[in-house]
């Protein structure tokens, strides 16, 4: 979402984010049997979808950046799709994927068109009253918003209504309730978004004007699709179902329900109430302090939502931060100071042992023995040298004495 607008319009509306929904739809046999979706009540898929739906819708209310509103709206609608698959409304789920692509891409490109004019994405600071300056963008954005809110005969109504119908017919009352809450909130936050961007007075400092045809023509094309695409699966036509149904789904006997006016009227009513409440809150109450400013509970709730339930703090700060920070550093410390210290320790011990072997054993003991033989020879020689006085009389005396001793020995021996 932080990326360039066309990128957002493509991947965050229509293609990349729906990969997971597509995977579940593709492998639906596994999920349908594995989660016993036919039984009704609650299962992991539908619960996650419903919770996502509501949580993201709350977050969409507190965003000042128009693209962030649309991003959380996408998350919320994806919750719808997953919830649909979780309650057994298979065709409805992927049909919503299909229609959502059109009006969400339209809304993103519309946001891009607006930012092209005012050079900003901040609704509160730099937008307002743009409907006078940018009529094509304004009307296509309204069409997209109405489609998203689920007002017939635009695209969103047909897909969303089918989801709620499937949920109620397949025995998922809680999901039906959450779906209605989501529908209410979707209508409301889109009304807020449209109000802040296009109504009121212009709060920016530039000269906004309509975008060139390169931008407005795609908006127009997508607007046409947002109006008409829903009719592909309208009761009686049901082309989309015929095109997309797979034999996996048929063999699993995933039920398809016929269009019923009652629930459809109820969902439209909820959407209209959402628009009405938002209208009353923003359009009519402009200028007066809001409940999120007046009461401390309101302020606290607002802050909790703006901080995205502190989930980002947990994920980025807590998990990522601890892994790439203390845990990695600790592991590296262990590597350098324990493992490598052992390796270096082997070297140090080897050097110490080598030193001992050389200094003590080799030099002192072994070489000492070698030197001792030399010292002995030298010492013996030193002793013998004493006899070498140079005095001939002494040599004669010793010679005479030796002869006497040998003669005596010879005489005594024989």
């Amino acid at each position: 979402m932080a990326g360039p607008t066309p990128v957002s319009a493509l991947i965050h509306a229509a293609t990349m984010v729906v990969a997971g929904v597509y995977l579940i739809a593709r492998l639906y046999g596994v999920f349908y049997r594995g989660f016993s979706i036919a039984h009704g009540g609650a299962n992991l898929v539908s619960v996650i979808g419903a919770v996502t739906l509501v949580i993201a819708a709350v977050l969409a209310f507190v965003q000042d950046d128009i693209k962030k509103v649309l991003a959380y709206s996408t998350v919320s609608q994806l919750g719808y799709m997953v919830m649909a698959l979780g309650v057994g409304a298979w065709t409805a789920g992927i049909f919503h994927l299909f229609t959502h692509a059109f009006f969400k891409a339209l809304l993103f490109l519309g946001a891009g068109s607006v930012s092209h004019a005012v050079h900003s994405f901040d609704m509160k600071k730099d937008m307002g009253g743009l409907r006078k300056h940018m009529p094509v963008t304004f009307w296509t954005f309204i069409i997209g918003s109405v489609a998203l809110a689920g007002i017939p005969p635009l695209a969103g109504f047909w897909s969303k209504d089918e989801i709620l119908l499937g949920a109620s017919r397949n025995g998922y009352p809680v999901m039906v309730a959450m779906g209605f809450i989501g529908a209410f909130m979707t209508a409301a936050y889109m009304t807020r978004c449209c109000y802040l961007t296009f109504f009121g007075h212009y709060r920016g400092h530039g000269q906004p004007h309509e975008s060139p045809p390169a931008i407005t023509v795609p908006l127009g094309i997508l607007a046409v699709f947002s109006v008409l695409a829903g009719l592909l699966n309208a009761p009686g036509i049901s082309l989309f179902r015929k095109w997309t149904t797979t034999d996996v789904v048929e063999r699993a006997h995933v039920p398809e329900h016929a269009f019923a006016v009652g629930p459809a009227a109820l969902s439209v009513l909820v959407a209209l109430i959402g628009i009405g409440v938002a209208y009353a809150y923003w359009f009519r109450d402009e200028g007066r302090p809001r409940v999120v400013e007046r009461s401390s509970v309101g302020r606290g709730a607002y802050r909790f939502a703006v901080r995205k339930y502190y989930l980002d703090d947990v994920y980025t700060g807590g998990i990522v931060g601890s892994v790439k920070g203390p845990i990695a550093a600790g592991m590296y410390w262990f590597d350098q100071h324990v493992i490598d210290a052992t390796v270096d320790g082997v070297a140090t011990v080897s050097r110490a042992v080598a030193g001992f072997v050389y200094d003590v054993i080799d030099q002192k003991i072994v070489d000492g023995l070698v030197n001792a033989t030399g010292a002995t020879a030298e010492g013996g020689g030193g002793l013998l040298r004493i006899i070498q006085t140079g005095r001939v009389q002494q040599y004669a005396a010793i010679l005479f004495g030796a002869v006497v001793i040998f003669a005596a020995a010879l005489v005594l021996a024989t």
Binding site: V323, K324, A328, M331, Y332, D335, D340
Partner: protein, 505 residues
């Protein structure tokens, strides 16, 4: 076999040695002549490799081909026995291609002290050792080439390396040699217990009769020799220092090929000759492998030096290779060999880029780098491409080293604990998330954003011509192998099955 076939493997191993000999005769001042000789001979060696590639019988990749089996050292019954099969062939080609690229890369950029003659001679001797290791079929012959690579690498690191090169060089040399000492003990044990022969092919049959407890000990010796080279946790600590201190080309050789000698030894020697011992050891090898994956990744996250980060990433990637090997399954070992080739290409490229970054910016500190995509966009893009390849993005070569290894862990060889290996599978999959983490974080710090104030006004060159010539084949190979991995798999599969036939999957 015609005459050229008979001499092909000899040429592959010894042409670089001939070139080294010739280079000794070239005067030190005539650098162009030196570079020309080196380039001609390394390209010729690669030509021999291409010849082998085209003449290789792919239907028979399990059989040794181009075999030469001559008398060598009769007194110990060691023969000059070389041959190439489906496992050796891709690694041999990797070695040849990387050597050529290193010669090209170094063309105008020699590390200090400037001595192209000596540096090239060492590179060529290194290539002889590497090629010989991949082709040897006799344990003593293998040992000679396996050890031969240590000496040029020691000098490369010790003379041309970074500030701490003395310590790094001697640590690398002694640590690896220690493992090799235990390995040669195992080789001798195999000789005496396996019928007085050093021949790898013969030992695959005769070593079956060795008692299991003895086999375990022999495998332990082989394990030490190869595990230190791979490197496996906890014997890996020589690698960060050696990689960081080595000159660029030295790091490339080390990462791209020398690490593969260890894993190749497992696949070529340890597993085929001692399958029962391999089976008993496999769980422990697996444990160390997955520890290596996570440990290497965490080590990467703690690094501030780009080259040291890439060095730790090698530990992590070789963990994937060893996990594939530990499963003792065909998918696993195919994945391991592919992973060896892929890692060689990718991490070789990463080290090349790290060297180029250092040369331009004078630093590898990630905190001082930044904005490469602004200042040197082409190098920034290539770094991004290689980072994506390294983290295992499908469509690039790295994916086929990681994913089949994880897949193989789901179904290891018969008799190995399913619960244990499936736990490895989960841990390894988490490891891929860490891989993405550290590589993208490195990319973000080095390439994104705006250049730091220190280098903002400096005139930093983008990629030079020699770098383009050296890098393009590698980048193309990374992409081609990523899109069509069967180019490697159809070489290796037969030989992998042959190596595992005694495991009985």
């Amino acid at each position: 076999m015609n005459a050229f076939d008979h001499w092909a493997l000899g040429a592959a191993v010894f042409l670089p040695a001939v070139a080294a000999g010739l280079l000794l005769l070239v005067p030190r001042a005539q650098e162009t002549a030196q570079k020309a000789v080196a380039l001609v001979f390394t390209v010729a060696t690669t030509g021999v490799g291409v010849y082998l590639l085209t003449q290789f019988d792919y239907g028979n990749s399990r059989k040794l081909q181009f075999v030469v089996n001559n008398r060598w050292i009769d007194v110990i019954n060691s023969r000059y026995h070389v041959g190439v099969d489906g496992i050796s062939l891709p690694l041999l080609l990797l070695s040849m291609v990387i050597t050529v690229m290193c010669v090209v890369y170094s063309w105008n950029h020699w590390p200090e002290p400037h001595n192209p003659k000596a540096f090239l001679i060492l590179m060529l001797v290194l290539e002889t050792g590497m090629n010989g290791t991949f082709l040897a079929q006799d344990l003593i012959l293998f040992f000679v080439f396996f050890e031969l690579v240590l000496l040029p690498m020691y000098f490369m690191i010790g003379v041309w390396g970074g500030p701490n090169r003395q310590y790094a060089a001697i640590k690398f040399f002694l640590f690896t040699l220690f493992g090799s000492a235990l390995m040669i003990l195992s080789f001798l044990a195999l000789y005496f217990k396996g019928g007085q022969t050093f021949d790898m092919v013969a030992l695959q049959h005769s070593a079956q009769t060795i008692a299991h407890s003895t086999q375990l000990l022999i495998f332990a010796g082989l394990f030490m020799g190869f595990a230190i080279k791979v490197p496996m946790f906890p014997f890996h600590t020589w690698l960060p220092d050696a990689h960081t201190e080595a000159p660029t080309v030295g790091s490339v050789f080390l990462a791209a090929i020398l690490l593969k000698l260890g894993t190749y030894g497992f696949v070529r020697i340890a597993i085929p000759i001692l399958p029962q011992a391999a089976h008993s050891w496999a769980p422990y090898i697996g444990v160390l492998a997955v520890i290596g994956i996570i440990y290497g990744a965490l080590g990467c996250l703690a690094q501030r030096d780009m080259k040291r980060l890439i060095a730790f990433s090698s530990v992590a990637h070789m963990g994937f290779v060893m996990l594939g090997i530990a499963t003792l399954s065909p998918i696993g070992i195919n994945a391991a060999v592919f992973g060896m080739v892929a890692h060689g290409l990718i991490t070789g490229m990463l080290f090349f880029i790290a060297g180029s970054v250092q040369e331009r910016f004078g630093t590898r500190e990630l905190s001082r780098l930044g904005g490469m995509l602004v200042q040197t966009p082409r190098m920034g893009w290539i770094l991004g491409f290689c980072a994506m390849a390294s983290l295992g993005l499908p469509g690039l070569a790295g994916f086929w080293g990681e994913f089949p290894a994880i897949l193989s862990s789901y179904q290891p060889a018969a008799g190995l604990s399913l619960a244990l290996f499936r736990t490895f599978m989960v841990v390894a999959a988490v490891g891929t998330v860490f891989a993405a983490g550290y590589l993208l974080w490195m990319l973000q710090r080095a390439a994104f954003g705006v250049p730091k104030a220190e280098f903002a006004d400096a005139h930093i060159h983008d990629v030079h011509v020699p770098e383009y010539i050296a890098w393009t084949p590698l980048l193309v190979l990374i992409l081609v192998l990523g899109l069509y991995p069967n180019l490697i798999f159809h070489m290796t599969d037969g030989a992998v099955h042959q190596a595992l036939r005694a495991i009985g999957t």
